[in-house]
Amino acid sequence: MSRKVIEITQLGKQYRLGQVGTSTLSDDFKRWLYRVRGKEDPFLKVGETNDRTKKGNSEYVWALRDINFSVNQGEVVGIIGKNGAGKSTLLKILSRTTTPTTGEYKIKGRVASLLEVGTGFHPDLSGRENVFLNGAIMGMSKAEIRRQFDAIVDFSGVERYIDTPVKRYSSGMYVRLAFAVAAHLEPEILIVDEVLAVGDQEFQDKCLGKMKSVSGEGRTVLFVSHNMAAVKSLCKRTIVMRNGQVHFDGGVTEGIAKYLEALNPSLNNGTIEPHHRTINAGNVFIRHLKLENEEFSNGNSIYFNNPVHISMDIAFEKDLNDVLLDARISSNDGIELFHSMTLYGSDLLQVKKGMLKARVILENRLQPGKYFISLGVHLSDGATQDYLENVLEINVLNVTNTSEKGLIYDFKLGYARMNANWQITN
């Protein structure tokens, strides 16, 4: 039986575009007039949802609108969404650095927000002094900090420099010390905004481990991140934000899929335009391409280890009887990694004038990261008929859709995995 520790109802936050601040002097005056007459703020009725890519009609925009959800004690909730989806605004409001325009929220327990590491660090003060200062800003008492001090220094691994001014620290040391303070806060609710993106791998693992153990102690964590592997390994629940609204609220795997889908809706399913063609001999045209992985009907992300399905429509302007198709995968630094052509599996194709449908399933042995796929139609003598260089962009994730463990591969060694047979005996 867990109890609610955060309850958010009808929360909204309105901003005014173009200018500094939320309003102008004349709007301020109008607001004041309405308030004096006991009426509701007239500007709350205007404004539109926050899609930064589209041009809007209103000067006022809702960075958040109608947010409703509640969080139970001990839940670890991942909040994900594109840049500008409202994640940070939500965290700002929950950590009381600004107030909502509409709605309300209720909180039970002490909240510590980690929107940034090292808030209030003073460059001229020593590491030791800054630990105390930063801890106090985060709401710890002096006695608490003193009790935790050794653990903080130990966790940070900068013991040797603890009496040196922090402006002499390397940026990594700075962040380590700062996160160490934050990690030793003992709040009932922890709000974390993308702070794991700093520090080296060892330290990131340490941070993730710390956050896991924090949640294990029955504390509630709200966690904003773009690192899906971290979200998957930490959270049981995700809230996907989109244009200032809650787009999805539920399980992690599903949430991540919803998020990735929204990431790049324009890609990899479309008609080929002339500018896509690198080489064309005037006889054959690839007209239409589609990346068919069903999890991401309109995105370009591929789960780790999942094969890449591509289908295409090819128009032949005349009969050709020695045709071959090929596909290449290049890394995003331009190295050609894989190559496949129809000749490997069958003979040369004999094609009549008209449309041809082709479908290829590429085995995915790629390490996580971005890759480009080029497609081509050639004749047996090597004459290229149509060639679309780097026409598809795929993003191989560092998570699988099968493993429960989530985190598969968070570092990159080379471009591909090889098949290997490991035999282990005692």
Partner: protein, 285 residues
């Protein structure tokens, strides 16, 4: 799966509109360690990488005093019947305290925007810590003033300390600090949105000094003008301090009473404005 909470169970309820006036001293008290650390930070970080270090605390009032002493000799400024050096040094010591408190608190929001934007703690921690660290500075500067004072006390018969008023001095200093806090906090609130006020503050404070009894003592003004000018707490308080120290100057219980009322009103009003501002200033700063 989740039990229903009644409103009383929640520790914090945040709504778009807050209370009209909220001075949460309990919360401020809970953050007293932060205030102490901020004071420490102000004092230690201020003179890092300077050669003279804390000596600067003495140089600033000293040079101003020397300049005014020189001017008063040249232009025949009246300094009651006190030695000009002592008169200006007393004035400068307390004026600097007031002015520093005022200017430093007046940019509370802008100077701390990066911290305020990331963490919540009672915003009043910052201006209050400024007042406290300036109080310490005042203590140090008073040492120099008292040395000069002691010299004149021992070598001349012009000074007649008023012991009753001297005992009141801590109260007077706090009153001056609270007045600076009130004004500073008010300015910090309005400058978050309209920066015009920071320009106003820059030269306004200079002008204000001339009608606060620091350069021209209250006794130089005609009775009518003086009555009006003494409504200014800085003048009535510094005159009272000066009177306590030397037996010279213009002390009136009525005006001290007025000063208390003015300070309370200014504090009340400015904290009200501060409350309104702290809620959304991150959007306007």
């Amino acid at each position: 799966m989740s039990s229903t909470n009644t409103n009383t169970d929640w520790d914090l309820i945040v709504k778009p509109q807050g209370a009209f006036f909220r001075l949460n001293l309990k919360e401020l008290w809970a953050y007293r360690d932060l205030i102490i650390l901020m004071v420490k930070r102000d004092l230690t970080a201020l003179y890092k990488q300077t050669i003279l270090g804390p000596v600067w605390m003495f140089l600033q009032p000293l040079f101003t005093t020397l300049l005014y002493t020189f001017l008063s000799k040249q232009a025949q400024f009246k300094t009651d019947s006190l030695p000009p050096l002592l008169f200006y040094l007393i004035g400068q010591t307390y004026w600097l305290y007031f002015a520093e408190c005022f200017t430093k608190t007046s940019n509370t929001f802008i100077a701390n925007a990066s911290v305020f934007g990331k963490v919540y703690f009672p915003r009043l921690v910052m201006p209050v810590s400024v007042i406290v660290s300036n109080l310490i500075r005042l203590g140090i500067q008073m040492l120099m003033m008292l040395c000069v004072y002691g010299y004149y006390l021992a070598t001349t018969n012009d000074l007649h300390p008023q012991y009753g008023l001297l005992a009141l001095q801590p109260f007077l200093i706090v009153l001056l600090g609270l007045f600076a806090l009130g004004l500073g906090v008010l300015f910090s609130a309005v400058t978050t949105k309209y920066r015009d006020f920071s320009f106003l503050l820059g030269f306004g404070l200079q002008l204000f000094m001339f009608v606060s009894g620091i350069v021209f003592p209250a006794s130089t003004f005609s009775e009518k003008t003086r009555f009006v000018l003494m409504m200014n707490p800085v003048m009535s308080v510094t005159e009272a301090i000066k009177f306590g120290l030397t037996g010279q100057g213009y002390f009136s219980p009525l005006h001290l009473g007025v000063a208390v009322v003015v300070v309370i009103l200014v504090l009340f009003f400015s904290i009200m404005v501060f409350n309104r501002t702290e809620r959304t200033f991150m959007d306007t700063v």
